[in-house]
Symmetry: C2
Subunit: 310 residues, 2 copies
């Protein structure tokens, strides 16, 4: 997945501002994301994990808009200037930025008691083509990419470490190294009405999408995609984490029923799982249905997970 790395950078790091050229016919898409040690990641997390988590989460917002990554600015607040932390962080940031097709063009480094990182990402979309939360229509199908709940399980393995096992590594990678669905979003864009990425949990984020259009949805819980690893390792929690765990950074899309086959074909070609989990309804409210088609109650829409946003 390569973006527009390096394209349009007239003046990069080292002046008061970066000077940047947005290609003609394109709109600029921007998002800012903050990670705070002790809030979004555990104290003592390896700097390479912090870099991958920061960039993955930030660039996922560009994927959610079906944008192509271009430029990154970074505000870094550190308790002290520590080369043993800074060097591996910078190396991992540079490597992951290259993989994601985004280029560091500016930053500000300051001293403060708590390690705090804010990444602003900039990308392009052809004018008028950004994928937004609004635009869903009653009758649309709801598609999600990948599997959900793995990231929450990865956090669990850090909070309460189980015996070493290959699955633990998989789950921790899903927590530390979000993989923005850039190519999928861009190629699905012509077939999709509305979308976002799942950062607060499926129920909460699907709720945001529906709210933007004043609609509701029926969602079949058994269809919500869960990895084999998650179900084997945390069989009792898998469903709740898939519904409400958050930090998955997968896409949730509202698609006209007749466009679903085209979407599935795109996903298959890209080798990404894409699953139809329900439909948009004119009646407001998000209903989670069990295998018997009964509405489940008592599901928290915003699980109170490690990410404690205010």
């Amino acid at each position: 997945m390569t973006g527009q790395q390096g394209q349009g950078v007239v003046t990069g790091i080292g002046d008061d501002c970066a000077v940047l050229q947005v290609p003609s016919g394109q709109q600029l898409v921007v998002s800012i994301d903050t990670l705070v040690e002790g809030t979004h990641f555990l104290p003592g997390t390896a700097p390479r994990h912090v870099a991958c988590r920061l960039l993955g989460a930030a660039v996922s917002d560009l994927a959610a808009a079906a944008a192509t990554p271009a430029w990154l600015t970074l505000a870094l607040t550190l308790p002290r200037s520590d080369p043993d932390w800074l060097e591996p962080f910078a190396a991992a940031l540079a490597e992951r930025a290259t993989e994601l097709g985004i280029r560091l063009v500016g930053g500000d480094t300051t001293r403060g008691e708590t390690l705090t990182l804010s990444a602003q990402v900039h990308g392009f979309v052809p004018s008028g083509e950004a994928l937004l939360r609004r635009g869903a229509q009653a009758g649309d199908r709801i598609l999600v990419s990948g599997t959900l709940g793995d990231s929450r399980a990865g956090l669990e393995t850090l909070l309460r470490p189980p015996a070493p096992h290959a699955d633990v590594h998989y789950l921790q990678q899903r927590f530390y190294r979000p993989e923005p669905r850039l190519a999928l979003a861009r190629q699905l864009r012509p077939h999709v009405r509305a979308g976002l990425d799942i950062s607060d949990g499926l129920l909460a984020d699907l709720g945001h999408l529906l709210e933007a259009s004043g609609l509701g949805a029926d969602l079949w819980q058994d269809r919500v995609p869960r990895s084999a690893v998650l179900q084997r390792f945390y069989p009792r929690d898998a469903l709740v984490w898939a519904l409400s765990g958050g930090e998955d950074f997968e896409l949730c899309l509202s698609v006209a029923a007749e466009e679903v086959p085209a979407c599935l074909k795109v996903a298959e070609r890209l080798g990404v799982l894409l699953t139809d989990i329900g439909c948009v309804t004119a009646a407001p409210g998000l209903r989670v249905l069990d295998a018997a088609g009964q509405v489940r109650t008592g599901l928290a829409s915003g699980y109170d997970h490690f990410k404690d946003s205010i």
Copy 2:
């Protein structure tokens, strides 16, 4: 001073990304700036002061590039969700943003132990017209806007409060409420070779400008503009603070000698002080000359002031 507030905002706050339209023929100019409580401002500082300080410093980087402000994103980390802090902060931020012609288009609010604010500012310049640090030539004159050292004196009145006096208010306003020299920079742009804003102190920032072109300068210390208030209130420290105090957010410009009269005319029309304080030399190194033309030694180029960047 109105900027491009509201112009080009296709989708603002509330989606995964803001979608923005850069006007044709213009380049995008961006800068990110962080303030940390206890590092850049004193604990307990009134939220309106924090808002004005944050925006003024950030937008000053746009002025330094001779850009017109357009959009703002804000990453806010707070120890707790406190309406008594947030409401006056948001009100002051909105008011100051309107004054500076910049519009809030996105943000991220998180919880963390230390109050930390990162503002990314976005502006426009006509393509190829950004004012940069490089470009100075030997023989150029060095011009600075406004008076220097007031902000450092304002900090002093907070660290060691003197008896109440109208002058104290003036100096504190200079510390809390930087006034980006937006109109001056844009109107001087055709006459100027290189420039930046003074955030680290005149000597340090002029050093950055000279370094960008591999040049030196002779600077007459008695010409460095100091306010009557500063000289009356802190006669012993006034000169050192004007040279090295930092946080002034005035412009420092390198101008061909024959363009100086045009620059002074622009400044006069705008009612802004603009002072010729020295000249650029082919010999590297920054020499501060006293009234007798003798080179002063032992001047710290980067005063170790309250702003403790790393």
